[in-house]
């Protein structure tokens, strides 16, 4: 593809992505909601791709960082802390209503630091051992979220945190600018943009930024170091790569994405509970990365969009055709969804073991220095 053509493709897809929610909105908020969820999963999958795809560290507990981000925002933007702790209410009588400009970096930082902390004890482990340990971490975090309503009610246990603020953008109390509340609609002249559509644009912006970061990482020295570790850890070490720091960096960077998407999830849903952060969720994110094409950004995005949007579409299909009554109550939308995800995981892997859209060359690190792919 020459440069001009490429530019046209980029421009067309950019316009399409910007117009998409407006079209969907006219068909009902349900469809925009699906697009929002898909973008959140793109964010998560991009994060996990850094850990699994680039550095080759199989992480089955990735959802823990998603949960940490979500609970962090849940605590910072809901009345829970003020209503539970008098001393907190004394300090912040109206509760903390944290600004998004603080929330995103903070969520990223906390998740990133925890990613490094959780990664540190696993450095010596390889492959499957790592998988089971990270899985254990994910479960430990979930058990704590589920039980920390006693003796100190921090997470409100299985009941979860509700009444979480929606995000307000561009709000400046100092100048009296009210800002855009993403939880409500926005009127531009006669045209009304729904709340879910506003979130779509926020998530899209984050996804694009993440994509750029991921791409830059991939072609950087750090990215090459990660891929060298993925291909052959001992050789990488012999070549002077500090494998310990690089692995920790991969854990930290990946977790950052998880934390940010968790924050977004909490703001979007207005409610978080331990149920959203089960092992199954981790497994789904791994499946997105692997099914799409591990280590290959377009593939990862494809996997995330397919696996997150398809089930929702199926839910609609089974609702429309009333499968539940046709099959005598045995097949409800949730079961159908699970069945098809399971079949998709098995069949796609059997037919295309390297993913639906695998990266064209295996292991960039193996390419010779300066030998760029011919345009």
């Amino acid at each position: 593809m020459d440069k001009q053509k490429k530019l046209v493709v980029w421009a067309v897809s950019a316009v399409a992505l910007l117009v998409l929610p407006l079209l969907l909105q006219s068909m009902g908020n349900f469809w925009v909601r699906i697009a929002d969820t898909a973008l959140l999963y793109v964010l998560l999958a991009l994060g996990l791709n850094i850990v699994v795809g680039y550095a080759g560290l199989l992480d089955l507990g990735f959802v823990a960082f998603f949960a940490i981000g979500a609970y962090m925002y849940g605590l910072m933007a809901s009345p829970h802390l003020s209503s539970t702790f008098p001393w907190f209410a004394a300090m912040f009588p109206d509760g903390l209503h944290t600004s998004v400009w603080l929330v995103i970096p903070l969520g990223a930082a906390i998740a990133g630091v925890l990613g490094i902390l959780l990664g540190a004890p696993t450095l010596k482990l390889r492959g499957d051992y790592l998988a089971i340990v990270t899985l254990g971490f994910g479960e430990i975090i979930r058990v704590f979220l589920n039980n920390l309503d006693h003796p100190v009610n921090l997470t409100n246990g299985p009941k979860g945190l509700g009444q979480i603020d929606s995000i307000t953008l561009f709000k400046f109390d100092l100048f009296g600018i009210p800002g855009i509340n993403l939880g409500r609609f926005l009127d531009i002249g006669e045209y009304r943009i729904n709340s879910v559509t506003l979130y779509y644009y926020l998530f899209l912006a984050l996804a694009v930024v993440s994509l750029i970061i991921c791409h830059r990482l991939e072609v950087s020295r750090i990215g090459r170091a990660w891929m060298a570790i993925r291909e052959d850890e001992i050789a990488a070490k012999a070549m002077g790569i500090n494998t310990r720091n690089m692995k920790l960096l991969a854990f930290g960077m990946g977790a950052t994405f998880g934390g940010v998407s968790g924050v977004m999830f909490a703001a979007f849903q207005g409610f978080v509970s331990p149920e959203s952060f089960s092992l199954m969720e981790s497994v789904m994110i791994v499946a997105m990365v692997v099914l799409g094409g591990i280590g290959h950004l377009p593939g990862v995005i494809l996997g995330a969009v397919l696996l997150s949007a398809l089930p929702e579409v199926l839910r609609w299909v089974s609702g429309t055709f009333d499968l539940q009554s046709v099959t005598g109550g045995r097949l409800d939308p949730a079961i159908l969804r699970q069945l098809l995800i399971a079949l998709a995981m098995i069949i796609v892997m059997l037919l295309r073991p390297r993913g639906l859209w695998p990266s064209p060359e295996h292991g960039k690190a193996l390419r010779q220095n300066g030998a760029r792919a011919q345009p």
Partner: protein, 309 residues
């Protein structure tokens, strides 16, 4: 003191179940380096099948003695689960044997989800009571109570382990298994058929998992389509704990894990003054795992299958 003894008994019973399931994980891992995530679901299929057969038998031949029903249903369930596991390996894992490592892992996870979903469709999602077929007679040992069901579980585990040890150490199949685990190519040159050996491994694993599933059902009295998930996870943890690929390690790991879990959940309330309760029981497995792997990354007994099997 009675609490400790009681928890040791409970832990041994729980641990012997983990051990049987862990053996299936560890054998498969030792030979084809795959975490067979669907293994816990094989336990579930075994238990649900035996439940369905027992319920059917109770309807058709109500006069049959309990132990006949239990034994008969377990045998049939073993056959069903073994056939299933054989088919799973052939359809989902064999074609991927030379693929990138993550591919079979994802099909295994998909298979686990598929089996759970199918079981939910076939058996409905509710909890079903598993009939008490043997008289659960309690015996008192130094202040603690052990039921006849628990004694049966311990005895059955011991017998299964003895049979498996004999199989692996003293039969042609066992030698072929050890050879394949060590090096499939060289084993093939020596006249071993790796595919046959791998199929046999899956069949043996399914039988052990079914026995564990029936034990689990008899001990807790309920069956349901998600019942295999957590025991499967814990059993895998046990296998890693003992050193995956190592049969003795799986048994040691399973029993230790059961003991730690039972004693831990029995004492956590007392030790922390009621701050943490027994609902934290599930995380002991993982905390122990992380601790052990941090200090000794290849597990308690090391990882080589052929050396020690």
């Amino acid at each position: 003191m009675e609490i400790l003894l009681q928890q040791i008994i409970n832990g041994l019973v729980l641990g012997s179940m983990y051990a049987l399931v862990a053996l299936g994980y560890t054998m498969v891992y030792g030979i084809i380096n795959l975490i067979n995530f669907a293994h816990g679901e094989v336990l579930m299929v075994g238990a649900l099948t035996s439940w369905a057969i027992i319920v059917g038998m109770q309807d058709a031949m109500p006069g049959l003695p309990g132990w006949v029903m239990l034994l008969g249903s377990t045998l049939i369930a073993c056959v069903v689960a073994a056939t299933l596991n054989f088919a799973i390996e052939k359809i989902a894992y064999r074609p991927l044997r030379n693929s990138p490592k993550l591919a079979p892992l994802i099909t295994a996870i998909g298979m686990s989800l598929l089996l759970q979903t199918l079981a939910m469709i076939i058996f409905k999602p509710n909890y079903k009571p598993y009939p008490t077929l043997l008289p659960a007679k309690p015996f008192e040992v130094g202040g603690a109570v052990i039921t006849s069901t628990q004694i049966m579980i311990l005895a059955l585990t011991a017998v299964s382990l003895a049979v498996l040890t004999y199989l692996v150490n003293y039969t042609r199949l066992g030698r072929a298994m050890r050879a394949t685990a060590e090096n499939p190519r060289v084993a093939a040159l020596m006249g071993v058929r790796p595919d046959t050996v791998i199929s046999a491994t899956f069949i043996i694993g399914a039988v052990l998992a079914t026995i564990a599933g029936v034990m689990y059902a008899s001990n807790y009295g309920t069956v349901q389509h998600t019942m295999g998930f957590l025991p499967g996870l814990k059993a895998f943890t046990a296998a890693v704990f003992g050193g995956i690929g190592n049969l003795a390690g799986a048994v040691v790991g399973g029993i230790l894990l059961g003991l730690i879990e039972a004693i831990g959940s029995g004492y956590i309330g007392i030790l922390t003054g009621g701050v943490l309760g027994s609902h934290y029981a599930d995380i002991f497995a993982f905390i122990v795992l992380i601790g052990v792997l941090t200090l000794r990354p290849s597990g308690l007994l090391g990882e080589r299958v052929a050396d020690r099997a």
